[in-house]
């Protein structure tokens, strides 16, 4: 459905010397299947929005190719570049970009009254606008001025405007980031439902990992203009390919170590706080320096009176605890490092208390050590 191939886009650095260019998008390739909900996830400045704007036609890529439905929208080699207003794609912007001088109906009707579609018959405009507004449940507000709508209504209005042209592809640029937390969660379901009902292929840009994981069929985690990992949400969360993904998606503990040997159960990694068995590795072999990643919620906290030692058990003492409502978060001080753990709220351990931590091998992954990482979390 959508193929993006070897996309590159560099910007001139405004502050530095004239010839410096920032590679906002650096050789990005991915494919989105018909009807899929595809998410570009990453921190700000990772190139996700630029990628989306290249697909939209609002930025002109330096090289690469963009194809939607066998229709080439951009190809550097073939010197093709379709203008944004002729691409027939729907887009929802971060600020929604609702035109404040038009009412709800006119905002949605705008795409049917300009450019190539300017000759759409009046009756058809009315019918299509009403249909689009009904889909997002704004039909009763058609005559209202757009700026009089609440944040959530504006977001749905922007969606209706994008859908009214029945685009082949829907592009969403952080559409939920301007809303407050409660509304954001309810609209997440809403958006997902609409997307599934309309069966529309969607490319979604966000920096919010829980949005990405909860809504997508596929996620591309981006960093510094490149795709760091591409996979379904479960892979991204449970089998991060590198420390960046492990750290960016959810919270992760990193323990520095060296891979010593391979055993039937997995690999043994020597760390400053003792040997650890990990079930999976990615990109490291015996003898390599690595980091062991383990999610806070996977660390089992044992009261220290039971056992000492044992496989994958580390001992330390509780340094701080944070009660966050549905859970209890502990910072545990080990002799040479610090681990974050998350337990049900019922288990209360006061600070200073000695504890043992069990790190189940199945939830531990050894990943290559990044060149310059500022300490473990």
């Amino acid at each position: 459905m959508l193929q993006v191939d070897a996309l590159c886009k560099a910007f001139k650095e405004e502050t530095a010397s004239k010839h410096d260019r920032v590679h906002a998008v650096d050789d990005v390739t991915f494919t989105v299947e018909e009807g899929q909900f595809f998410t570009l996830l990453g921190p700000s400045g990772c190139g996700k929005t630029t990628t989306l704007r290249c697909i939209a036609g609002l930025e002109r890529p330096d090289t690469g190719e963009i194809v939607v439905d066998d229709h080439v929208l951009f190809s550097h080699d073939r010197r093709i570049s379709i203008a944004a207003n002729e691409r027939n794609l729907g887009m929802v912007f971060q600020s929604y970009a609702i035109w404040p001088h038009m009412n709800v109906f006119d905002n949605v009707a705008f795409p049917l009254r300009v450019g190539k579609r300017r000759r759409t018959p009046k009756a058809e405009v009315t019918e299509r606008v009403e249909r689009a507004l009904n889909v997002v449940e704004l039909g009763h507000l058609a005559g209202r001025y757009a700026t009089k709508l609440s944040g959530g209504q504006q977001q749905r209005l922007a969606l209706a405007r994008a859908l009214v042209i029945e685009p082949k592809l829907l592009l969403l640029d952080e559409p939920l980031s301007n809303l407050d937390a409660k509304l954001r969660e309810s609209l997440r379901f809403e958006l997902k439902r609409l997307q599934r009902e309309q069966g529309i292929t969607t490319v979604y840009v966000t920096h919010d990992q829980s949005e990405a994981l909860s809504m997508s069929n596929a996620v591309a985690v981006m960093k510094d203009g490149r795709i760091s990992q591409l996979g379904d949400p479960f892979d991204i969360y449970l089998k991060p390919a590198n420390p960046f993904v492990a750290d960016f998606v959810g919270t992760t503990n990193f323990i520095d170590g060296v891979v010593r040997e391979q055993t039937p159960d997995g690999w043994v990694v020597h760390t400053a706080d003792g040997p650890l068995t990990v079930a999976a590795t990615s990109g490291v072999g015996v003898g390599d320096e690595c980091v062991v990643c383990v999610r806070p919620e996977h660390v089992e906290v044992l009261r220290d009176d039971s056992s000492t030692g044992g496989d994958n058990v580390l001992t330390g003492e509780v340094q701080t605890r944070l009660f966050v409502g549905e859970a209890m978060e502990y910072q545990v001080r080990l002799p040479n490092s610090q681990l974050q753990c998350r337990t049900p709220a019922a288990a209360r351990l006061s600070s200073g208390k000695p504890v043992s931590l069990h790190l189940p091998p199945a939830h531990c992954t050894a990943l290559p050590r990044p060149e310059a990482r500022a300490g473990s979390r």
Binding site: A56, G57, L58, E59, R60, R79, S81, I82, A83, A84, N85, E86, R87, N88, L89, G90, M91, F93, Q94, S95, A97, W99, P100, H101, F110, P111, V114, G115, K116, R117, Y145, T147, A158, R161, A162, I165, L171
Partner: protein, 579 residues
């Protein structure tokens, strides 16, 4: 005019969207950009070129002879001293009064605030020539109403003669104080009250908070305002012409005027003085820009999250208010009242009970019989409307190029369009004479030359209104129009222009108002058939027709006030839907 119409916001419809993207896109928008640049360069740079050329050449070619000729005219040293004394004096008056008004208007709980606001803005509406003439009847040595009053209560030593440097500076300063008010109003509004509150919490008293926190915070703005006012004082023409010429207090502007109204006409002197004046004003404004840039470190001052909290003046509330009510009476009520009084008398008499018997509306009738008055109204209206429309249309397009086109060098367009701010009206008039006097095009002596002058002079205001309103239109609003399939023209016409509308309307009204007041360029460029209102008032003054003059003035002030009022209402209505 035709040139400007061609450059309107209508590139060929197949212009590919969004400026620089797509290989086949650029042509139409690019061509439009070049046209815009050419028009701007012609309007702004050709006067400079002709001034320099006329000033630095004699019949035999390049020479500095004009300079020595101009500066060896008798009385030159006095003229230079006078120019600066007048400019600094006027700046002192306007800065002190404007800053105080702004401070109490924004930051105090003084009652009568609406009055303060009116006192600060109304002088902006009264044309300078009328304001000055009104003050002749209030402050001249013999007939000045204020001086007569002072003499009658034995306060002779407080008398100020309008026809002296001090009087000139005082009158000009009062007329210009609204500018300072507006500059300082913004500065005070932008100061975070938390900074003052924390000083109060540290135990400082209110006066010492003002002295040690409030004023230092606005110091860059204040310094910038003083400089701007000195520059304005140097450029000022009305006061030096009405008061300075009869009393022999010459300054640059009146000398330039005189050089062009003696026989034989001294174009060389006019050129040299114009260049000198221009260099001074440009240097001054460049300095202002530097001050402002350095002042950015004071910007605590970002415009979000706080409302100015009024200081409690305590028992000083009423004394302060009375003081400002008095100011209102002096600056607004008295000049307007004396104009009305003058307009109702067959010949001028000092206000008294006896004179009431002679009141008549004859002057308002004579306005229509007087040759030229009706024509002047028509000319002024035509010029004001056409130049305001042309400036706003043109600068909207320029603003789009500056902010949105991402073309190389687009910022230069803004610099170019802002430059006339540093060009005194009289200097522009001199330059336009040089350009069109011998030009084969029949422009000299027509309304067209006045149109060119007005458009050039008011480009800076236009570009400021246009860029600030376009700046508020976020890029995504345009992007989303493109994604909806709109072409560049669709986007500009249906999204950009409607969203800029409040700013364009406000700018339009402002330019109409200042065009109607314009004297210093018009006075050099008008001809028998192209008198404008301000020139007519000037001529009536020279002919001693004070009654008709006052009648015309009253009508003019009322009309301008109605216009500003309507625009204010309209602006408020268009502007309510926040962008």
């Amino acid at each position: 005019m035709t040139q400007l119409a061609d450059a309107g916001p209508a590139p060929s419809p197949d212009a590919a969207p969004g400026a620089e993207r797509g290989p086949r896109r650029p042509r139409a928008v690019y061509v439009l950009g070049v046209v815009v640049l050419a028009i701007l360069a012609y309007l702004v740079l050709s006067p400079l070129f002709y001034l320099a050329w006329r000033g630095l050449t004699t019949g035999e070619g390049f020479s500095l002879a004009n300079i020595s000729a101009a500066y060896s005219v008798e009385g030159t040293p006095e003229m230079l001293v006078n120019s600066f004394v007048f400019a600094f004096g006027s700046a002192a008056v306007s800065t002190v009064s404007g800053t105080a008004l702004a401070f109490f208007c924004v930051r105090s709980n003084a009652p009568l605030k609406p009055l303060l606001y009116a006192a600060s803005i109304v002088p902006l509406i009264i044309p300078g020539i009328l304001f000055t003439i009104a003050w002749v009847f209030l402050l001249s040595e013999d007939v000045g109403v204020i001086n007569i009053l002072l003499r009658s209560v034995g306060l002779d030593f407080l008398q100020i003669d309008a026809f002296s440097l001090l009087g000139m500076a005082l009158i000009d300063g009062m007329h210009l104080s609204p500018l300072v008010f507006l500059l300082m109003f913004a500065a005070f509004k932008a100061t975070d009250p938390a900074l003052e509150e924390s000083a109060l919490m540290s135990g400082a008293s209110v006066p010492s908070v003002i002295r040690k926190v409030t004023l230092p915070l606005v110091r860059p703005a204040l310094f910038g305002a003083i400089l701007v006012m000195v520059v304005r004082g140097l450029e000022s023409f009305e006061t030096p012409a009405v008061l300075g010429i009869p009393s022999g207090n010459w300054v640059f502007t009146s000398r330039i005027y005189q050089a062009l109204h003696t026989y034989p006409v001294r174009y060389d002197i006019a050129a040299i003085y114009s260049i000198s004046l221009l260099l001074l004003t440009v240097a001054g404004l460049l300095f202002v820009q530097r001050v402002n840039r350095r002042g950015e470190r004071f910007q605590t001052i970002s415009g979000k999250g706080f409302r100015p909290r009024p200081l409690d003046l305590g028992r000083w509330r009423w004394p302060v208010s009375v003081l400002f009510a008095l100011y209102f009476v002096v600056v607004v009520v008295l000049p307007v009242a004396i104009l009305v009084w003058m307009s109702l008398l067959p010949y001028y008499q000092t206000p008294s009970i006896d004179a009431l018997d002679t009141l008549t509306l004859r002057n308002y009738e004579r306005m229509f019989d007087m040759p030229g008055v009706v024509d002047a109204v028509r000319n002024s209206a035509i010029l004001a409307v056409t130049s305001a429309t042309a400036v706003m249309l043109f600068t909207s397009v320029v603003a789009w190029f500056v902010l949105k086109s991402r073309m190389r060098g687009a910022r230069f367009l803004e610099t170019l369009a802002s430059f006339p701010l540093a060009m005194p009206g009289l200097v522009l008039g001199v330059a336009l004479i040089f350009i069109y006097l011998r030009s084969p095009l029949p422009i000299y002596g027509t309304l067209l030359i006045l149109f060119i002058a007005y458009v050039t002079r008011y480009l800076p205001y236009g570009i400021r209104y246009a860029t600030s309103s376009l700046g508020q239109v976020s890029a995504e609003l345009e992007d989303s129009a493109q994604m909806s399939g709109a072409t560049w023209r669709d986007t500009f016409r249906r999204v950009v222009v409607p969203l800029m509308a409040p700013g364009i309307v406000a700018g339009w009204v402002y330019i109409v108002v200042v065009s109607v007041r314009e004297l210093s360029s018009s006075i050099l460029l008008y001809s028998q058939d192209t008198r404008v209102l301000s020139v007519t008032i000037w001529e009536l003054w020279e002919n001693g027709e004070t009654g008709v003059l006052a009648a015309v003035g009253v009508v003019m002030v009322v009309a301008l006030m109605i216009l500003v009022g309507v625009a204010y209402k309209l602006g408020a209505r268009v502007g309510v839907r926040d962008l």
